[in-house]
């Protein structure tokens, strides 16, 4: 669909203008910004809010901001936040109820979210949004809250120019090159000449927005430079998912001793599910006031690592850490495929970096895989 002639070149000033154009079109612009020692996603006013010249160093349970030797806007890998925070908010009041006499009135919450433009969406994150689309919009029960946020968004994607220490999208087939699901996609070129961005249009709206920016056709040398950048990123992934049929591997190994091993290390804190851009589980909490005159129901993110999550009459079904970690990992990598037709993991590495004790999903799979290869049934 996109031939080379669709590719344009803009300058940092073009990106500044892009934020202005999107704001003028009524979008709330959300983009990367440095926040308390990490690069998160927040409402931004202009390019000064970008993490200019910052990158990150990541490993299991480890994240640090580092200075780059240039003024790159997007020279970092994904951080603690994902776009899930905006499309599927952590807490949302669903309705209230009021009692008057013997009557009760249910009042729906007004849910008129702002129209968001996301800037700096990576390939893994576009895949994560596509996965959540299947979860929330794909079946017979559509989530109206997700839909109302998702429908109007404008996506400015970015091809990754650096891979983080915990990234493994290349081995999941979800990056680092953005495929689809964007309005505009940028590739940042900071070296060999002036700071510039290759722009690809993914939609008509994207193309219209591009016409409002100062741009020129991209020369073949820059198209080649962008290709080389993405190729280099693919070659420098910090992690790798073992190249095997992972869903089948896990199905065969539900009683593997590695689950006991990881249970000794896992804190059941739930951080991995909170940071995961595809985890979708929620719980509802009801509250009543002291007089019993009003009630409210709130939805909030939940995690299969909590005891309440699998609580049924008489207790929690998954009371051991072993059972909970296994639920999490087999859902992400195996049963998700049965349920939604894709893996539930896009290789973003967040669960590795933001696990307080650095538990690594790729390492756990590798241990089971190698255990099987060394074992009797190999």
């Amino acid at each position: 669909m996109n031939t080379t002639s669709d590719l344009a070149l803009i300058t940092p000033d073009g990106v500044r203008r892009l934020i202005e154009v999107l704001t003028a079109r009524g979008y709330r612009v959300i983009g990367p910004t440095v926040r308390n020692g990490a690069i998160g996603y927040d409402a931004i006013d202009g390019i000064d809010d970008f993490p200019v010249g910052w990158t990150d160093e990541q490993d299991g349970g480890y994240y640090r901001l580092r200075r780059r030797d240039d003024a790159a806007f997007f020279g970092y890998a994904v951080g603690p936040h994902s776009w899930k925070r905006y499309l599927h908010p952590p807490q949302l009041r669903l309705w209230r109820a009021e009692r008057s006499g013997d009557d009760m009135r249910i009042i729906d919450e007004d849910d008129e979210p702002p129209r968001d433009a996301f800037i700096g969406v990576r390939a893994c994150e576009l895949n994560a949004i596509a996965i959540q689309d299947k979860v929330f919009l794909g079946g017979p029960y559509v989530d109206p809250h997700y839909r109302s946020r998702r429908e109007g968004i404008f996506v400015v994607a970015v091809n990754c120019a650096v891979a983080g220490g915990t990234c493994f999208c290349a081995s999941m087939g979800t990056g680092p090159r953005v495929g689809s699901g964007f309005d505009l996609a940028l590739t940042e070129i900071v070296h060999d000449g002036a700071h510039r961005f290759l722009v690809e249009c993914g939609t008509d709206v994207g193309a219209q927005v591009l016409t409002e920016l100062p741009h020129r056709p991209a020369p073949p040398s820059d198209i080649e430079a962008a290709r080389a950048i993405i190729e280099r990123t693919a070659q420098s992934m910090g992690r790798e998912m073992p190249a095997t049929d992972v869903p089948a591997l896990l199905r065969r190994n539900l009683e593997h001793s590695r689950w006991d091993n990881v249970a000794e290390r896992c804190l059941t804190c739930g951080n991995c599910t909170m940071v995961c851009p595809t985890c979708f589980c929620t719980s509802v909490e009801d509250e009543t006031d002291l007089s019993g005159a009003t009630a409210a129901r709130t939805r909030r993110w939940d995690s299969c690592f909590t005891m309440d999550f699998s609580y049924i009459h008489g207790g929690s079904v998954r009371s051991s850490t072993r059972a909970r970690y296994r639920q999490w990992m087999t859902h992400k990598l195996s049963t998700w495929v049965d349920q939604f037709g894709t893996s539930g993991c896009v290789g973003c590495g967040r669960c590795i970096s933001w696990c307080p004790v650095g538990i690594d999903i790729t390492e756990e799979v590798r241990a089971i895989h190698e255990g099987e290869c060394d074992g009797d049934d190999s």
């Binding site: 926040r35 308390n36 020692g37 990490a38 998160g40 349970g61 480890y62 994240y63 640090r64 901001l65 603690p80 936040h81 925070r85 952590p90 807490q91 009692r99 006499g101 013997d102 000794e264 290390r265 896992c266 804190l267 059941t268 804190c269 739930g270 951080n271 909170m274 940071v275 909490e285 009801d286 509250e287 009543t288 006031d289 002291l290 007089s291 019993g292 005159a293 909030r300 993110w301 995690s303 690592f305 909590t306 005891m307 309440d308 009371s319 850490t321 970096s353 933001w354 307080p356 004790v357 650095g358």
Partner: protein
Amino acid sequence: MARRRRKPRLAVWKFASCDGCQLSLLDCEDELLAVADAVEIAYFPEASRGEVRGTYDLSLVEGSITTAHDAARIQDVRRRSRRLVTIGACATAGGIQALRNFADVEAFISVVYANHAYIQTLATSTPIADHVGVDFELQGCPINKRQLLEVIAAFLSGRRPAIPSHSVCIECKLKGNVCIMVAHGTPCLGPVTHAGCDALCPSYNRGCYGCYGPMETPNTRALSEWLQGLGMARGDLLRVYRKFYANAEAFRTESKRHDP
């Protein structure tokens, strides 16, 4: 509610404690009138002198058992209470005064008091649930007033309080905080600590001190290993667990592992 007969009677009892949790109720300010409207505050020495004998629909119990007299008194409170809810670290785990459980009380007494003929105390500080049946335990040192109101409202309407017992980390993530253990290397007890404070300390760049006690399934041993990796010394590991919730089982066991 039009059909409500008499208002439920509320009592607030104090055992060995600092009064901080009872103050959370007085601190409700805006909501205090609503509380007074919904219940008859029948016994609350901290707030009023009036005292009503008899029985209570809901008793909030603050403080731990540290004397033989209190051990007998809590039996009386239980008999008078239809529902008994313990509030705070003292009542639910023994409180900071449970540090005595790790030491020799006689030695403390001889150091602190000139004349110890009048000191009558038990060798341990223990939670209320070690002595009588408890209907609900509200954690925190001190408790969170919003959660206290939730517990009262839940008991008034006969529903389960919405008080999750998962980690502080989940609250931290719902707020959108950057994890300071991962991004700053600051030691944090959030992963093993009971939620309820809305991740107060991590929101201000301080590691969690564990003042809501152990979460539902705390893996203190694994966290300690990680904290050691972050450079925490053995003596400090003992101290991080031996604070407000020193006597809660998970923290007690873990601090003992680091006792020289």
